[in-house]
Amino acid sequence: MEFTTSALFERVERARRRKPRVKDEFITLAHGAGGKAMHELVEGLFLDYFRNPLLEALEDQAVFEIAGNGRAPRLAFTTDSYVVTPLFFPGGDIGRLAVCGTVNDLAMSGARPLYLSAGFIIEEGFPVADLKRVLQSMRDTAEEAGVQIVTGDTKVVQRGGADKLFINTAGIGLIEHGARFSAANARAGDRVILSGPMGDHGATVMIARGELELETDIRSDVAPLWQLVEAMLETPAGIRAMRDPTRGGVATTLNEIALASEVCLRIDESALPVRDEVKGACEILGLDPLYLSNEGGLVAVVAADVADQLVARMRQCPLGRDARVIGAAQAEPPGIVVLKTDFGGTRIVDMLVGDQAPRIC
């Protein structure tokens, strides 16, 4: 292709890196979809009002020392709210999700999850039998993850004031090693590891909503990741960054790391694991599994010399059986995720804009 100037791309990149601002007059669903609009909301509004060094890192959890003398143990602290529809879906439910989501955000800093809080917002008329099912699931999942739910809160709102049941959990974890993981730590030459197939949770929930009238055997992968992370921490030295690709999927997580670290992540499409069922659903609906969420998977950027060893160790864990290297970090062009397609071409994988919507024709 012929290009007359490269000034254009500097123009686009400048615009792309402009300070995020919320220009909308009202919050739309796009602000919650995990893509660019949500980043604008978080960085352009929340960060502006609450700015402090811990929040500024924009990690999935805050990591701090209790005493602040440099020798005290470090704690990780995080919170997340769960508003999934439907409440029960193949492979999990809102309760399991509420425990796993927070446990996993702690685990991504290398912290052993210890204690959770749980807040419930319940709509008037919600069946107690369903609430019991959710609580049972939370208890089982907490046990599986090795955490205790030690404090909580309940609010009941008028019919229509909430959709059936919302849960918020917060969690505290303990970091027992010296490593510091951050999305800003990736360097050229590092390898990118993905722990398992992409998009299982996102595809499951989308289909479980029943709007698409598709029937499949896809199950959500929602699971606590701590055991997998604990195995990886046997050799914490080469690990730079860990994130779980929840909202916005693997593509969004990779973009966050590429932008924070100012590196290019080059991903090989042929190495990306996707279950046939998920791939099939995506083909029919015109969706891209790169943008569908996982709730029991992780992306890690690690030093090249420890990558194979880590993958081998991960594969010994149930949640890491399909772990593999999916790409590498390079210096140029910074802040961008590039996919080498099976077809022989290359393309940019950007953050998601708005919600993924099935195509028209």
């Binding site: 012929e2 739309t28 099976d342 940019i348």
Partner: protein
């Protein structure tokens, strides 16, 4: 799924690319300008990096076959006016929610309190109407002959079941008048067409015969997998090299010569052509839009509700028209990538992932970025 992967094999792609290069080398300069009419093809071309595989004397021009991209501002404003009325549940496909009207989009109207809902098929909208008998459910129908049959069948079902609170805001358009308008456009010089795929499954490949007969240009009806597109380009280049101009059907696994008679019958039963319909960027095109026939007019949202029906000029900065006709490339537009991005689209070509600008922004920036990095290193 194995079936799909066969259409993406890199090895076969390489062979086809070499074949195209050999044939086109004989043609020399000036470069061949081939238009892919469908947005689906545009998406495939960018998603798989097909232009990387083509020689420099073949240029792909990205055509107007993305229904979201050609909907004019005035129609979006009409949709917004209907959606904001008390008691209305306004339904449409996902992409349409983000298309900006002269002031706002359906997505923003929803945030401001209008009851706008995304549906996956017009039948979902009809179901919604039956479940909410005290509300007016309006479905914004859009798309070429691909989606018109399902709208038609839904209207027929509504008539049969006498669902009185359901209506359709019809923006269905037809591909052949658009092709004619493009071919008649004086600033456009095209050498051949990658012809529509899904649309042709309904209307058949035969309807394109005027393209070689009256205009002397080859047209190859093409599938949407990357190998389909590459093979179609190869077939067009071969026709040109052999001084032939014909309609060929690369997508014969899906498209027949005569199309789908049942689907066409449904369209004819429910719809008739409008005298004129406005296309974003292309202007008014005679007999290019569909509206509900008289016997179904009770389901016509335009008659049921007062919509302003104003014709609103495209924003000055926006060059969607030139881009839809292939006269300009997306990156030649002044606002591309700066004021107009997928998250804050000014023009509709930036909204749908099948629009040329969005496809180029999302997938195609790479060669430019790489070039810039090279420059940085040097």
């Amino acid at each position: 799924m194995k079936y799909v992967d066969e259409y993406r094999a890199g090895e076969i792609a390489g062979r086809l690319a070499r074949e195209i290069r050999r044939t086109s080398a004989r043609l020399g300069d000036p470069p061949l300008k081939l238009m892919e009419v469908c947005g689906g093809h545009t998406h495939t071309i960018f998603k798989y990096g097909i232009e990387d595989l083509l020689p420099s004397n073949i240029q792909m021009i990205h055509g107007p076959g993305c229904p979201v991209c050609v909907i004019p501002l005035g129609r979006v404003d009409d949709a917004l006016a209907i959606a904001r009325r008390d008691g209305v549940i306004f339904t449409t496909f996902g992409d349409m929610m983000r298309v900006p009207g002269s002031k706002t989009s359906l997505l923003q109207a929803k945030a401001e309190g209008a009851d706008v809902r995304m549906v996956y098929s017009p039948l979902d909208a009809l179901k919604l109407a039956k479940r909410n008998p005290d509300r007016e459910v309006v479905f914004l129908a859009l798309g070429f002959e691909t989606t018109a049959p399902s709208t038609a069948l839904t209207v027929m079902a509504a008539a049969q079941e006498d669902v009185r609170n359901f209506s359709v805001f019809c923006n269905h358009i037809m591909i052949v008048p658009a092709l004619k308008a493009l071919l008649d456009s004086p600033d456009l010089k095209l050498d051949g067409f990658v012809g529509p795929g899904h649309v042709s499954a309904v209307i058949g490949a035969r309807v394109y015969e005027f393209v070689p007969l009256e205009y002397g240009k080859p047209l190859v009806v093409s599938g949407f997998e990357p190998l389909d597109v590459l093979q179609s380009v190869s077939m067009i280049v071969k026709q040109i090299a052999e001084s032939r101009a014909e309609v060929e059907n690369q997508y014969s696994r899906f498209v027949s010569r005569d199309g789908n008679a049942n689907a066409m019958a449904a369209i004819c039963e429910v719809f008739e052509s409008r005298d004129y319909f406005e296309w974003r960027g292309l202007g008014s095109i005679a007999h290019s839009g569909l509206k509900l026939r008289k016997r179904y007019s009770r389901f016509d949202a335009e008659l049921r509700f007062d919509a302003p029906g104003l014709r609103i000029a495209d924003p000055k900065a926006c060059q969607c028209g030139e881009i839809l006709k292939g006269v300009k490339k997306p990156w030649e537009c002044k606002v591309f990538g700066t004021a107009c991005t997928p998250e804050t689209p000014i023009g509709s070509c930036m909204v749908s992932s099948e629009g040329a600008c969005a496809a180029y922004y999302n997938f195609g920036r790479l060669s430019k970025v790489a070039e810039r990095s090279e420059a940085v290193k040097a």
